[in-house]
Amino acid sequence: MSQARLRIVRIVISLLILALVAFVFISPAPSAYHHLRKGFSFFQFVPSLLSFVSLISWTTIGFIIILLLTVLFGRAYCSFLCPLGTIQDVLVFIKRKVKRKKKYRYLRPLPLLRYTVLGLTILIFLFGSNLLVEMLDPFSLSGRFLSQLARPVFIFINNGLAQVLQSWDIYSVYLVSWKTFIPAVFLVTLGFFLMILLFSIFRGRDYCNTVCPVGTLLGLFSIRPVYKIRIDHGGCTGCRLCELACKAGCIDSEKKEIDYSRCIVCFDCIPACSGKSITFSSVPARENPEIKTFPSTGRRDFLKGMTVLGLGLVVESCKILPATAASSEEKPITPPGSLGLDHFTQYCTACQLCVSRCPTQVLTPSFFEYGWSGMLIPKMDYMRSFCNYECVICSEVCPTGAIRKITTDEKKQIQIGKVWLRKKPCIVYDQKTDCGACSEHCPTKAVYMVPYHGLFAPEVDPSICVGCGACQYVCPTIPDKAIMVVPHAIHRQAQLPANEEIPDEVLPSDEFPF
């Protein structure tokens, strides 16, 4: 096989993976296809790493495989598996259809910046905030682009189609709402998108090579990969075509060197070479033996950076910590399976997959409600919707283990918050007319009705409340709700509703009571 085909293989695989990721994130309607996320999340570095830390299970060792593959083949992850990498490739492809091709140039490495970002990300994570993981992780960024920017476009198309079909009396496509639109979250996502767009247009994969912590980390493992792109110094004519084709900017054609910590193994240089002097192999060709490439400085720089950062950050992070843990009463309610505020905010990277797939759209991206270190992490928003008693989709789609996989039966015993009834604004107590919307919707009858002056009025039994928010969502009082759910910082156990005695059997007889 000609090695030029490697590039085609890379393009096909990366597009297939992006298509799968995009499908699971974007599809406008709730569907049974959310299980497809298993098809990609195993091999997404940060989700896999986080779920490994959170679950300690062999089902989450994808990131170890990625590290091994990186040692063998270099940073192929960034070209084959990373959705953000492929999104950038697609953006550049589109841009080139519109405007003239821009040639790439060799870019000087920026080790200090790279390793500082990586070090900061790791350190802050170790100190209990995944702010930088969440902001910079390429999978989570892709997720936000797809769910906040692309999905609305598809919803728009879907709804247009639905309306056309409805006018023909066809109802298989139906209107989908986007209840979870939060302008600030949308704008932050758009800002990041524009940043990535500019990076990819003007500096190729420079986001991946100077900002992305995953790229930098994998770079440390790809300093001397077994298989790598090699320039045959004997055959090289110095035409520079490879450098101009290299979106990673890692080929220095003057020195005929490749910075393997930045090479993303996209194979674009192989067909670009005028003389077939670039190969991907484990066998050194006629390489210039005395030239050692950059790598050895990589590790040194990283360690240097880490030490400096470490000292400074131990002090700083200690100051930050109380801000995240304190005043948990005012913090949002986290979904069932997320164990509580600390676990959820530690492992959630705000990829918004649960938000996209939540059938009731009760999961809503937050802005500052978790504090600045938990920006964009989803919360349960009972002013917009409520949590379906039987549904565990968020726990099935969460790729990081922030929401642990739970069964419906387990969910029914998890109390994420508990009901709080204020009788003063309640319709029945206040206006003396029947209402009971809260009790009607309550799946456990933690809100139940008792006789009250010829009417029926709500009372609550918080011990069997799961905190689903149905009562709060449907409570019709304006402007403030008479019944709401008070969050638990650590989820508790809900008692199962007692099985009362079986009602008198209405025995079949031939008699009618009228």
Partner: protein, 304 residues
């Protein structure tokens, strides 16, 4: 169908129905009782489909309600994400049989929808009604979009003057209301009239504005052409959704009538409650929606 045509049609059909009922009374005195047109048919001890067949036979067949080429909207209770055996939603076998009867009578299209309480996709699927309707040749229509609801004036409403109603109710020729009899935490029981809260948009306005009066007021707006009360499985407590199978009793009964008040009065008695204690029945009867006095009605009772 235009609104004007619709009004004309309803007026005509009510006049016709009234005459039929009246002549029925005349004959009822001397003729065998199964020859008379009945105001209400109650069936017991059968499966949902078989009970409906028997009821329609007594009612003279679906052809009395649905003409060839007409559009029909069937409104079951599909409010909750619960399986059929939990009886939170109308029995799917009954809905299926109703759709089949309509189609056999020559209906052009039979639409089925509800403005659900739980997520509508789950409700439609897990109630078994979506599949039942599709199998029978009917059309499931989403009820989740405000754009499909149009504001109407409730001329006889005491409290409720205006509300938004699903356009299928406004546009269809025939409206068949298929509630399920259940215990209800707020309204004590939910039957025909309460079921109509699933054809309007903003029920929370009703909840905060004297719920029972709103239900009675709205019952004056568009009386269903037929009410089929499912009392096959009945939630006896912790309704309207029920918490577990412990809440459900087998009642194996069915009530069919054009009169919502009569349907709800009879169903209340089936449930073992006193109709006088349900204020919504009294309010609706006062507004002339229907009759609470079952003794004034020509009732056919069938035990299978």
């Amino acid at each position: 169908m235009k609104r004007r045509d619709f009004l004309k049609f309803s007026l005509a059909s009510w006049l016709l129905a009234g005459t039929a009922a009246y002549t029925g009374k005349l004959f009822a005195a001397g003729v065998m009782d199964n020859d008379a047109p009945f105001d209400l048919v109650a069936v017991k001890n059968g499966e949902p489909g078989a009970m409906f067949d028997a009821a329609m036979k007594a009612m003279g067949g679906m052809g009395n309600f649905v003409n060839k080429g007409q559009t029909v909207v069937v409104k079951p209770n599909i409010g909750w994400d619960a399986p059929p055996e939990r009886a939170a939603n109308t029995n799917p076998a009954l809905v299926k049989r109703i759709v089949e009867h309509c189609i056999r009578a020559g209906a052009k299209t039979v639409y089925v929808f509800d403005n659900t309480c739980d997520n509508w996709i789950n409700c439609y699927r897990n109630s078994g009604i979506e599949k039942a309707v599709k199998d029978a040749g009917g059309k499931m229509v989403p009820g989740n979009t405000e754009a499909n609801y149009q504001e109407v004036t409730i001329a006889q409403g005491k409290t409720l003057k205006k509300t938004k109603v699903h356009e299928l109710i406004l546009e269809s020729d025939v409206f068949i209301n298929v509630p399920i009899l259940k215990n209800h935490s707020a309204a004590q029981l939910t039957i025909s009239m309460k079921n109509l809260m699933g054809i309007i948009w903003d029920r929370y306005y009703w909840h905060r504005t004297n719920l029972n009066q709103c239900i009675a007021d709205f019952a004056t707006y568009r009386k269903p052409d037929l009410n089929v009360v499912d009392a096959y499985r009945v939630i006896m407590k912790r309704g309207p959704k029920g918490v577990s199978m412990e809440d459900v009793s087998m009642m194996k009964s069915l009530i069919v009538t054009k009169d919502m008040v009569a349907a709800d009065t009879a169903a209340t008695k089936l449930f073992g409650k006193e109709p006088d204690k349900l204020s919504v029945l009294r309010l609706a009867a006062e507004l002339g929606v229907g009759k609470m006095g079952l003794e004034q009605l020509n009732i056919k009772r069938i035990a299978l």
